[in-house]
C-alpha cells in the first residue's frame, strides 16, 4: 500500500506531446480513475507509473520515494491489462502463481496463496484450465487474481472491463469495487467509460489533450464541472451547452433570452443538465423548440429538441412523450445553471 505522486510529468513521442505537466497526488488506499477520451494519454500515464515507459521529464514518487530510476519489475506493483495478457501455455493456477514463482516462494505456500487468490475471484474450481478454455469474464478474473496474489503496493488497471459484454461489465464492476475496498490497496484505474468512472472512483481525474481537466470526487465533478470539456463529457446524455451573452442579468442566445439575475456581463456558454429540464406550459417556457426525437427509456423519457440550431437533450417524466416535429416548451431549473467563460471554457464561479 502506498501513495503515488506525479510531479510535472511530461511525455513526448518524437514531436508529439502525449502528456503535459501532469501533477497528481494519490492517497493511500484510494481508488483513482483516469478518465478521458481515447488517445488523451491515460495509458501513457499508467505505463509511466508502472515503469514500462519513461517520462520525458518529471518525477514519479511511490510511497514518498522517487522511482524514476527503479526498473518496472522492482516497483512491486501489479497491472491488469485490457487484453488480460495471460500466459497462454500456463494453466490458470500457474498464471496466478507466476509472480510468486518469480519470488521463489515455496511450492506449498505458493499453492495455498494461489487458492486464496482464486477463491477471492471465484475461480478455485478452474485452476487446471488453460486461458483458451475460459470465457472473457473468467479470463478477467484470472488476471485479477494474478494481480492480487502477491499483495503489491499498487494496482494498475488499464481498461480491464472494456472487452466484456455490457451485463458482465456491470457485474465485474461491482466485484472490482468490493475487492478493492476489501484489500484497501491503492488503485489506479484507466477507462474511457464515464459510467465506470462514476461508479468505481473515490476520485476521478479527467484527462484531455495531454492535460488534466479536473480532479475530484464523482459527485463533485458531476455537480461542478470545471470547464466545458468536462461538462460535455460527464453524464449520459451529457450537459447541454448553449452559447450566448449575458447583459444586465439577461442571458441572450440565438433564439431567445433567459433571466439570470446576479451573473456578471460577458460572453458565456450556458450549461444545463438534461435532468434539470422539464416540459412546461407555453406561458411558462424558458426556451421554445421543436422535437427532434422522443425516446421512452422506462423510468423517464429522453427528448431531443432543436432550440434554434442547438440540439438539447431533456430527461423528462415518462408520460411526457412528444410527437416528432411538434413545438415544445421547455422549462429550466434556474438554480441548476452552469456558466462557462466563452473564450477560455472554464467555469465562471471557479475563481470564487
Amino acid at each position: 500500500m502506498a501513495t503515488v505522486e506525479l510531479q510535472n510529468l511530461a511525455k513526448n513521442f518524437g514531436g508529439f506531446t502525449a502528456l503535459e505537466d501532469l501533477n497528481l497526488m494519490i492517497e493511500d488506499g484510494e481508488f483513482l480513475v483516469l478518465l478521458g477520451p481515447s488517445g488523451c494519454g491515460k495509458s501513457t500515464t499508467m505505463r509511466i507509473i508502472a515503469g514500462l515507459d519513461e517520462p520525458t521529464s518529471g518525477r514519479i514518487l511511490i510511497g514518498g520515494k522517487q522511482v524514476n530510476d527503479i526498473p518496472a519489475r522492482d516497483r512491486n506493483l501489479a497491472m491488469v491489462f485490457q487484453n488480460y495478457a495471460l500466459y497462454p501455455h500456463m494453466t490458470v493456477g500457474e498464471n496466478i502463481g507466476y509472480p510468486l514463482k518469480i519470488q521463489r516462494i515455496g511450492r506449498a505456500d505458493r499453492e495455498r496463496r494461489v487458492r486464496e487468490a482464486a477463491a477471492k475471484v471465484e475461480m478455485q474450481e478452474l485452476l487446471t484450465r488453460r486461458p483458451a478454455e475460459l470465457s472473457g469474464g473468467q479470463r478477467q478474473r484470472v488476471a485479477l487474481a494474478r494481480a492480487i496474489v502477491r499483495t503489491p503496493q499498487l494496482f494498475l488497471m488499464d481498461e480491464p472491463l472494456s472487452n466484456l459484454d455490457a451485463k458482465l461489465r456491470t457485474v465485474m464492476r461491482a466485484e472490482l469495487k468490493h475487492l478493492q475496498k476489501e484489500l484497501a490497496t491503492t488503485t489506479i484505474y484507466v477507462t474511457h467509460d464515464q459510467v465506470e468512472a462514476m461508479t468505481l472512483a473515490d476520485r476521478i481525474v479527467i484527462l484531455n489533450d495531454a492535460r488534466i481537466q479536473q480532479i475530484g470526487a464523482p459527485a463533485e465533478i458531476y455537480a461542478r464541472p470545471a470547464n466545458v470539456f468536462v461538462a460535455g463529457f460527464i453524464g449520459s446524455p451529457p450537459m447541454n451547452l448553449i452559447a450566448g451573452e449575458i447583459k444586465d442579468g439577461i442571458f441572450v442566445h440565438a433564439t431567445g433570452s433567459l433571466k439570470v439575475e446576479g451573473e456578471p456581463d460577458g460572453a458565456v456558454t450556458l450549461g444545463i443538465r438534461p435532468e434539470d429540464i422539464s416540459l412546461v406550459a407555453t406561458d411558462k417556457a424558458d426556451l421554445e423548440g421543436k422535437v427532434y426525437s422522443s425516446e421512452l427509456l422506462g423510468d423517464c423519457t429522453l427528448i431531443n429538441a432543436h432550440i434554434g440550431k442547438t440540439l438539447i437533450a431533456a430527461k423528462v417524466r415518462p408520460e411526457d412523450v412528444r410527437e416528432i416535429n411538434t413545438p415544445v416548451s421547455v422549462g429550466i431549473d434556474h438554480s441548476k445553471l452552469h456558466f462557462f467563460d466563452a473564450s477560455t471554457g472554464t467555469r465562471r464561479d471557479n475563481a470564487k
Binding site: A50, L52, A72, R73, D74, R75, L77, A78, M79, F81, Q82, N83, A85, L86, Y87, P88, H89, M90, T91, V92, G93, E94, G97, Y98, P99, I102, Q103, E111, V114, L127, T128, R130, R146
Partner: protein
C-alpha cells in the same frame, strides 16, 4: 462440409496431387526399384539382384563413415545454426539503432549462391593465401598455415562452419518474424510480475514461439541432411571420406563412378532418414499440443 464441397475440394487438389505423384513419388519409387538392380558401366543390361547391394553397402566401411559424418554434420549445423539464428534474432529484436542496416548486413550470406559461398571460403581457408590463416598467424596461434580443408581432423568443422555462416540468417529471419509477433503485453505482464530478461525469454517468449522453433528445427534438419553444393565444392567429400555425407556420396557414386544401383541404394537410405525426420516432427507437434503441465 457438404458432400458437394468435399467433391470440389478434391477437384482443386487434384492438379497438385498429380504433380506431386509424377515428379516426387514416381522418381522416389524409381529409386527404390533401381536399388534392387545392378546397373553399372561393366554390365549395362540391368540385372535384378534383390537386397544384394544393400548387404554390400551395409557391410562396407564407407557406409558407416558416411552415416557417422551425416549425423555429426546434421546435428552440428542444425544445433549451432538455430542457436546462433535465435540469438541474433533476439538481439535484432531489441530495437538497436540502425536495425535495418544490421539486418541487411546479416542477411548477405543467405543471399549468396551456395557455389559462390563455397568458392569464397576455399580462398578463405587456403593454407597460404587465406584470410583465416593470415589472421591466425598474425595473432600468434600458429607458426605456419593449417590446411583446414585438407586435414581429416579439421575438414568437417570447417565445412560445418561455412554452412552455418550461410544458413543462420535464414533461421534468424524466421525467428525474428516470430519474435515480432509475440504479444508484448504478456512480456510486460511478466516484467511487472518481477521476471528479468532471461526468465521472460524462457517463460513467455520461447513458449509463445515454440511451434516456430520446432518447425524451424525440422526444416533445417531436412535442408541440412540434403545439403550438397557447399560440401561438394569445398571438399568433394574428402579428405578420404572425412566430409562425405549422403548427398555427396550419391552424386559421386552415381555420376562419378556410374554405379547407379549403389547410388540408388544410398538414396533409399536418405529417404528413410528423411521419413524418420518427418515422422518425428508429426509426433513432436502432436505431443506439444497435448502436453499439459500441472500447477
Amino acid at each position: 462440409m457438404t458432400h458437394k464441397d468435399r467433391w470440389l475440394l478434391w477437384l482443386f487438389l487434384a492438379p497438385t496431387l498429380l504433380l506431386i505423384a509424377v515428379f516426387l513419388y514416381y522418381p522416389m519409387i524409381g529409386t527404390v526399384f533401381e536399388s534392387f538392380r545392378d546397373t553399372s558401366f561393366i554390365n549395362p543390361t540391368p540385372r535384378f539382384v534383390g537386397f544384394e547391394i544393400y548387404e554390400k553397402i551395409l557391410a562396407s566401411r564407407d557406409f558407416h563413415e558416411i552415416l557417422r559424418n551425416s549425423i555429426i554434420w546434421t546435428l552440428g549445423v542444425v544445433i549451432l545454426q538455430n542457436l546462433l539464428g535465435f540469438a541474433a534474432a533476439v538481439l535484432l529484436n531489441q530495437g538497436l539503432p540502425m536495425q535495418g542496416v544490421l539486418r541487411a548486413v546479416v542477411l548477405m550470406p543467405f543471399i549468396l549462391p551456395g557455389v559462390v559461398t563455397a568458392i569464397l571460403w576455399r580462398f578463405m581457408y587456403d593454407p597460404q593465401l587465406g584470410l583465416i590463416n593470415s589472421l591466425m598467424m598474425r595473432f600468434g596461434f600458429f607458426e605456419d598455415g593449417a590446411a583446414w580443408l585438407a586435414s581429416s581432423s579439421t575438414a568437417m568443422a570447417a565445412v560445418i562452419f561455412v554452412a552455418i555462416w550461410k544458413g543462420f540468417p535464414f533461421s534468424m529471419l524466421i525467428y525474428l518474424a516470430a519474435l515480432q509477433n509475440v504479444d508484448q503485453s504478456q512480456v510486460e505482464a511478466a516484467t511487472l510480475d518481477g521476471a528479468g530478461p532471461v526468465r521472460r525469454l524462457f517463460d513467455v517468449t520461447i513458449p509463445a514461439i515454440k511451434d516456430v522453433i520446432l518447425v524451424n528445427i525440422v526444416l533445417t534438419l531436412i535442408l541440412t541432411f540434403n545439403y550438397f553444393d557447399i560440401v561438394w565444392v569445398l571438399t568433394r567429400g574428402g579428405p578420404q571420406n572425412a566430409t562425405h555425407i549422403f548427398p555427396t556420396k550419391i552424386f559421386e557414386t552415381g555420376f562419378g563412378q556410374f554405379r547407379f544401383g549403389e547410388a540408388a541404394t544410398y538414396g533409399v537410405f536418405s529417404i528413410i532418414v528423411l521419413a524418420i525426420f518427418v515422422a518425428l516432427y508429426v509426433i513432436v507437434q502432436k505431443s506439444a499440443s497435448n502436453r499439459r503441465p500441472v500447477a
